[in-house]
Symmetry: D2
Subunit: 342 residues, 4 copies
Amino acid sequence: MRIGVLTGGGDCPGLNAVIRSVVRTASAHYGSEVLGFRDGWRGLLEDRTTPLDVAAVDGLLTRGGTTLGSARVAPERLNAELPQMKDVLATHGIDVLIPIGGEGTLTAAHLLSEAGVPVVGIPKTIDNDIDETDLTFGFDTAVSIATEMIDRLHTTAESHQRVLLVEVMGRHAGWIALHAGLAAGAHLTLVPEEPFDVEEVCRLVTERFDRGDSHVIGVVAEGAHPLPGTMDLRDGGLDEYGHRRFTGVAQQLGEELEQRTGKEVRTTVLGHVQRGGTPTSFDRVLATRFGLHATIAAHEGRHGQMVALRGTEIDLVPLEKAVARLKTVTPSRLAERAAFTG
Amino acid sequence: MRIGVLTGGGDCPGLNAVIRSVVRTASAHYGSEVLGFRDGWRGLLEDRTTPLDVAAVDGLLTRGGTTLGSARVAPERLNAELPQMKDVLATHGIDVLIPIGGEGTLTAAHLLSEAGVPVVGIPKTIDNDIDETDLTFGFDTAVSIATEMIDRLHTTAESHQRVLLVEVMGRHAGWIALHAGLAAGAHLTLVPEEPFDVEEVCRLVTERFDRGDSHVIGVVAEGAHPLPGTMDLRDGGLDEYGHRRFTGVAQQLGEELEQRTGKEVRTTVLGHVQRGGTPTSFDRVLATRFGLHATIAAHEGRHGQMVALRGTEIDLVPLEKAVARLKTVTPSRLAERAAFTG
Amino acid sequence: MRIGVLTGGGDCPGLNAVIRSVVRTASAHYGSEVLGFRDGWRGLLEDRTTPLDVAAVDGLLTRGGTTLGSARVAPERLNAELPQMKDVLATHGIDVLIPIGGEGTLTAAHLLSEAGVPVVGIPKTIDNDIDETDLTFGFDTAVSIATEMIDRLHTTAESHQRVLLVEVMGRHAGWIALHAGLAAGAHLTLVPEEPFDVEEVCRLVTERFDRGDSHVIGVVAEGAHPLPGTMDLRDGGLDEYGHRRFTGVAQQLGEELEQRTGKEVRTTVLGHVQRGGTPTSFDRVLATRFGLHATIAAHEGRHGQMVALRGTEIDLVPLEKAVARLKTVTPSRLAERAAFTG
Amino acid sequence: MRIGVLTGGGDCPGLNAVIRSVVRTASAHYGSEVLGFRDGWRGLLEDRTTPLDVAAVDGLLTRGGTTLGSARVAPERLNAELPQMKDVLATHGIDVLIPIGGEGTLTAAHLLSEAGVPVVGIPKTIDNDIDETDLTFGFDTAVSIATEMIDRLHTTAESHQRVLLVEVMGRHAGWIALHAGLAAGAHLTLVPEEPFDVEEVCRLVTERFDRGDSHVIGVVAEGAHPLPGTMDLRDGGLDEYGHRRFTGVAQQLGEELEQRTGKEVRTTVLGHVQRGGTPTSFDRVLATRFGLHATIAAHEGRHGQMVALRGTEIDLVPLEKAVARLKTVTPSRLAERAAFTG
């Protein structure tokens, strides 16, 4: 059998571990061949490939990023070029395609599947916002890096009696903020799922200092936003896909807090460090298992599916279901913050 | 309400995070008080306590170990002294006891519960061998440390064309070995659940070098043991609880391998570093959620239960069920190693 | 004898380790007492103190920040209030003062010394810009964090064929940028000591991509600035001490590069994470030795001096000499970048 | 010009960074070629080589180990085969040889130099026992790993009121033990330079527990040994070079302590993890600078020398002087432990 692999969307720790796992499983279990498409869907559109054998994936387990490269392609272009992609797959004799990516990539995978291409998807998102799977690889690494950084910021804030706001990733879902906030003992965690009230944030800050506490650490998801009418957020405009940009919510909230409370506020935007470098052991295991089970599914003819973590097991779910909605933080998980806020 | 807390069994990253979470939740949600018993069940037997308020748990989230201390007590002693323990609890007006510990601690908790004491247990085990919960805190930290160490050993083994055996924790269950082996790209993983055949291990080593590979990394759970008749393991005798000691299986296997294959073999026993130090972000979140939900259950009168991770949610399971058996590595999880062995 | 201690200026990993070392040495070697002044010189001006005995410094070795707190005070205020500070020192019976801090703190220490107060200074600067000592504690930690972050950014840049600019600390001296750039394999390192030519930077970027290289990592000290006439840097104005602010040089250079080369550029500002958290082992040893030798000097009557690392030994140098000039990167050290640029 | 490179002796973080630096400097500054000999002197004896260009060293900066491999060769064999080695060097047109290694490698380098071969040595030793240089690369990484491990062991020891002995590397010199002991707050540090008195060690342990301290951490260099008559150390025999083996001093001391004091003692032998994995930023910078300056010296005809760190500068010292004696811990450095012991 001949398997095609591509990695779509943004960089994510564990992508290389998945690629290695697919290749090793295909080779060891089935004697199958694997062909990589370069730079995500673009490589499939433009027929740019690289053969992947066991030697080619040596050392990939611990390396961040994706050796196949990745690039974003507008969904409408993908939709328009389905026939072209099917041609390329046919030319190379690809029996099953394993696309690894986030919402966009999996939606495209679903379209291909609907168009008759055998596909097994592998979910990838730092933000943990893909539905129908407990977790995706990359998320644990991102939370782990954010936590380590916030651990470090505590001591600076303490020594100078400051408010420190840390902006973490998460445009539409606050999972990284929630987990890093819990893990690093933040006094305040703001997520996109629940608009914040600036008055309340000010009150929390003031109360902590009034009680004699030495500092305040706030974790702010990049997609967090104020309750209408409580604070004006400068508009970041729309990005290339027509999504509204939330640029610099932490910075703007910091300025507002400083003005309203008179306390010294500093802001740190963690940015790309959250998505780079070697994956945590958790993500390496999850990525390896995803690759393994996707390759088994590919060979067993269970197509149009996505691998998913359910408890301790790797399961298959229909791609259609997986891309139907984003997985955002539930009210019960939001409620867990209460005892640790303030 | 008045909550009692104690930590039993071996040290484990996240214990302090649980204690903090119990105290913060009891205080913030319910205005309840928390009393800590020192050195596990011994503190309850000998009436040694320490009051735990929010100030007392400040800074505990990131600290390894247990601020309450821990000591092992023989189960029969606990059984014999149930009345004494009930007296101490009554003296202090404890409404619910929250014991945090492994199989032994939870079994004692179950006994107390049967004897009429309101109890909510919190599972703790580096080895991940407690049943009825997907995971316990401490396990991710142990796997993470073992993985980092094995990452480091790869380069030494490569540079000198050696076999390197790394002994990790896991007397009865091979979870740490399995996950660290997958995460660190071990060529060989030996677990207690599946006796190893020394011949096969030798064959694997020889084949790798014959293929031109530069080195072999083997991960060996401390409870791994050879198939009867394939190798003599020196007997470690029985420990204080009557369990057979498996001392130094990696060292002994290493000597055997060196003799049989003529290759240079080195052994590293990771030991206590796997259970110390600051918990990973994953374990901090899990420990915090366990403490939170155990305290809620304590206040809601849901006793005789243990908190458990099920998928992404924290659930309650009867203590009786949780201690009925050890959770060992399943055949399907063992099978996952195949594509990554050799 | 009675020793006073204070920590001035910005937060720095190792401050707590110095405090612990001073207290342990004073106590163990001399049976002397130590009194801490809170929030730097402000604590001395306002007579806010805290007694420091061996129990009080337990656990400080590994903790970032300063348990004494720190605050910046304008130099002219210090100068004006010398008599007031001498009074407070006399009231508490302080025989020798050990101020720990950067250029500002050591200049104030020199003034006090000139005014007859026995003083032994301990140099502290993340930026490594204090003269007459090979190194100061905090620098190794900052370089180490920056390097780890840049290691992570490599994989993201590679996967997306980007230019990534990382802004690190260093207003007047490029030591952090130089060392982190060397340690993390940056393709470009910009420091305050040598204004950069935007044309050349563009050429380097273009050449790398033309050669088929996958990405460019540039490390930019916050005080780096363009050659006059090659690029307009938005003026950050003056800060509260009348120093020119260099805000966002990396961000501005990134925009310029993107426009001129057409390549995708991302910018990360590391910020406060560089100065927080537990010190590296190197900084813990250096901080401990500084504290030890400063306390010995205090008891041996060698005042008006600063401890300094010279090769492998801790030496004393006159405060006057130490504060005469900033230590910037030398031309020979700058030249070392050449083989690793591009 | 044509440069030969080889790496001798044990694995050491930074070796690959030196190789990369030599190749980049030779290529960028001088347009010279570099040839690597495989597996240390053995590659030179047996004429096994690998060409090293800039592409071949890509990614080596952060990788532990040595891509050239390393093997130990008995000094007498090297001495006997000098003519053979000169022939191989001549065959390949090597103008200067840059051997990277410890005492053995540098002694061989000196012999070659005396025999008329242009040589520039680069010192390498985890143990930091090479004379005439302030430090060598690898040492900071080893201390850093040992410190991190001891940090972790503190919490286990605290929670169980134990004595924990940690055996670190250092057969003839106690530098790693001294620095890791200072950095990790050990209560006891034993080094080869000063035989220990078991009575005193017992007294220290007993005093700490009598004072109410929760635990004792002891750092023991593998070459530490008892004062004659105070304790019998089982003899490890001689190794292949006729050196006395000190096997398991920490384990044996632990048994003795347990017996004499009645306290629970645990022993951890860090072993190979100290010499593997990615180098610290400090070691990457030092390794890079050593490679750079050795290559410059090679081209400037300054042969028979070794590069050395002196303060902040890289200097050259005659190989003859560098190998005349081992650099052991000085009495003044040993004295620095006093305030931190107990």
